[in-house]
């Protein structure tokens, strides 16, 4: 087996001074499509931010494309990040630029392609996500779903080796979401891209995942193939796939109980 694209060893990540995730161990193999699942606020996005060094771990080692990111200076880290795409939850397009300029931004910056070639490349990427018509619009003029697709086009413009997506299909209609899932699968098949997708859409998980990592309770509750995830006895995973909420006692005592037994 070749070296993992992303590896975390006993990693702890804090948000401010509050620990969000502790003792994370994982290794993402090349060409794999891993889904990181979990309920809202469990630290999935934090995990992605940690993976590319936007958030420094308070403990542990993170290896991205084989390099320990703690040992890299800003320049080397920037170099490494260019080989990795991160699709933000809200898109994070530059609002003062048109969609086309947004997509062209990293390409113009980091390659020596002539402008006409860059423009064709931009058209190509926007066509891939079905946004060729919106090229000259600025992000605030687009709907949330369109913005997300435009952001995906921007991320894809650099043909990353590793693509990290933070809830790509959240807030999209089922048809567009399915098309997006399809696109992610195609990208992997055609370009052997490694994908890590954060999502809590069960349909999406079943459609795309090779492997499922479940984040819960400040750590990884499960790590295994999609089939294993469906058959596992791990309670949080079972509850998640069965759409069962967390146990009631964690939400406190009812007023009735309090009145009966003060």
């Amino acid at each position: 087996m070749s070296d993992p694209v992303l590896q975390m060893e006993n990693v702890s990540l804090n948000y401010g001074s509050e620990p969000v995730l502790t003792g994370i161990n994982l290794a993402i193999q090349p060409g794999e499509l891993t889904v990181i699942a979990g309920t809202s606020g469990c630290g999935k996005s934090t995990l992605l931010r940690g993976a590319i060094g936007l958030l420094r771990p308070s403990k542990g080692i993170i290896r991205l494309l084989g390099r320990d990111i703690a040992n890299l200076d800003e320049e080397e880290l920037a170099e490494l990040r260019r080989r990795v795409g991160l699709l933000f939850q809200g898109g994070a397009l530059i609002n003062s630029m048109t969609i086309a300029e947004n997509v062209a931004l990293p390409v113009r910056q980091f390659s020596r392609l002539p402008d006409s070639v860059v423009d064709s490349l931009v058209r190509m990427k926007l066509a891939q996500v079905g946004l060729e018509d919106a090229m000259q619009k600025t992000p605030p003029e687009l709907s949330g779903g369109m913005r997300k697709r435009a952001a995906l086009a921007r991320t894809l413009a650099m043909d990353p080796e590793l693509l990290l997506c933070d809830e790509p299909s959240a807030g999209l209609d089922p048809v567009t979401a399915a098309a997006l899932d399809r696109l992610l699968l195609d990208l992997r098949a055609a370009m052997n891209m490694t994908l890590v997708v954060v999502t809590h859409e069960l349909g999406s998980i079943d459609a795309i995942a090779d492997r499922v990592i479940m984040v819960a309770g400040g750590g990884l509750a499960f790590d295994g193939s999609l089939e294993q995830a469906h058959r596992t006895e791990t309670q949080v995973v079972k509850d998640f796939f069965a759409r069962k909420p967390a146990k009631a006692e964690t939400r406190g005592r009812s007023i009735l109980e309090r009145l009966l037994k003060p």
Partner: protein, 372 residues
Amino acid sequence: MEQPQHATVERYVEDGLTRVKVRGRLDRESAPVVLNWIQAWLPKGQSRVGLDLGEVDYVDSAGAAILSESQRLAGDRGVDLELIRLSEPVRKTLELFRVQGELGRIVEQPTAMIEALGDKAYSGLHQVRRMIFLLADTFYWAVVGPFVGGRGAPRGEVARQSMLLGSRAFGIVALLSSLIGLTLALLSAHQLRQFGANIYAANLVAVAMVREMGPLVTAVIVAGRSGSAIAAEIATMRVTEEVDALESMGFSPIRFLVVPKLYAVTITQPLLTFTGIACGIMGGMVIAQTALGIPAPAFIHQAIEAVRLKDVFSGLLKSVVFGWIILMVAAHCGLQTRGGAEAVGNSTTRSVVLSIFSVIITDCIFSLAFYL
């Protein structure tokens, strides 16, 4: 005491036990009144009271809250408040509402003064450290950027920023500076007239504008107008994760966002200040000619005599430093922003206050250094 709307409360004694019976709807309207009644009826020296909710057909959150509050009050007085009857809808509702911790007032844990003071000092130091890093990064990229690979910002960004930070501020700087010059001339002439030294109003206006007022007034206007815009722009980009996105694509946000503004401000600030100085002196001249009886050529001659090259040099040098301070403070406040739309507003305000403060402090230091 009044009776509650859509509910009735009554008290009776059965088997030597006080009972409170509520009928009807226990909702936001009736709950406070019911609570008052229960409170009034909680006996002293009796250990048990029965609460009969058998004929309550609806209870809302407020109702549930007064029930638990009544129980807490009863407990405080050593009374056992027991639920003796319960209708089905009330049971369901009371089961649904849950609380994890203790009921009652939410008390904010006060921070000890020393702790708060230490916290402030620590965060202040942290801010200064961040600012120094930002300063170092910005100047590094400003000097080294043009010689290493890749472009910092899109083409034409420096020109665009110069437009925004410089040309657009031209009018307001010119107007306010001439008004300041005008006021200065009036003020000084009024005092100098006592000595028959009217003509020295020109000296005063010219020297004051070149050394102090020109750079300072321009800096204050730029801080309010452009500094706030820069802070708001960067803060918004921070909040919408655009800064993170830039970083994730391998851009240096400082090189991309701050450095073009640094170039722009270095070009525009002395030009604006020069405009301000010229307009200020002009304003003084207009007043001298019309109100003080000093002819314009004499005023100009006197002004040129009074101003030394050192004054001009120090004024313009100051203006550049002020521009940098405004930019650094604005960029710092913008980049430190965390949270939502409200945080953007806060950062903008903070940036304006902090940059004007820093500009005035720096101005004092300059005056001491140049003229002491």
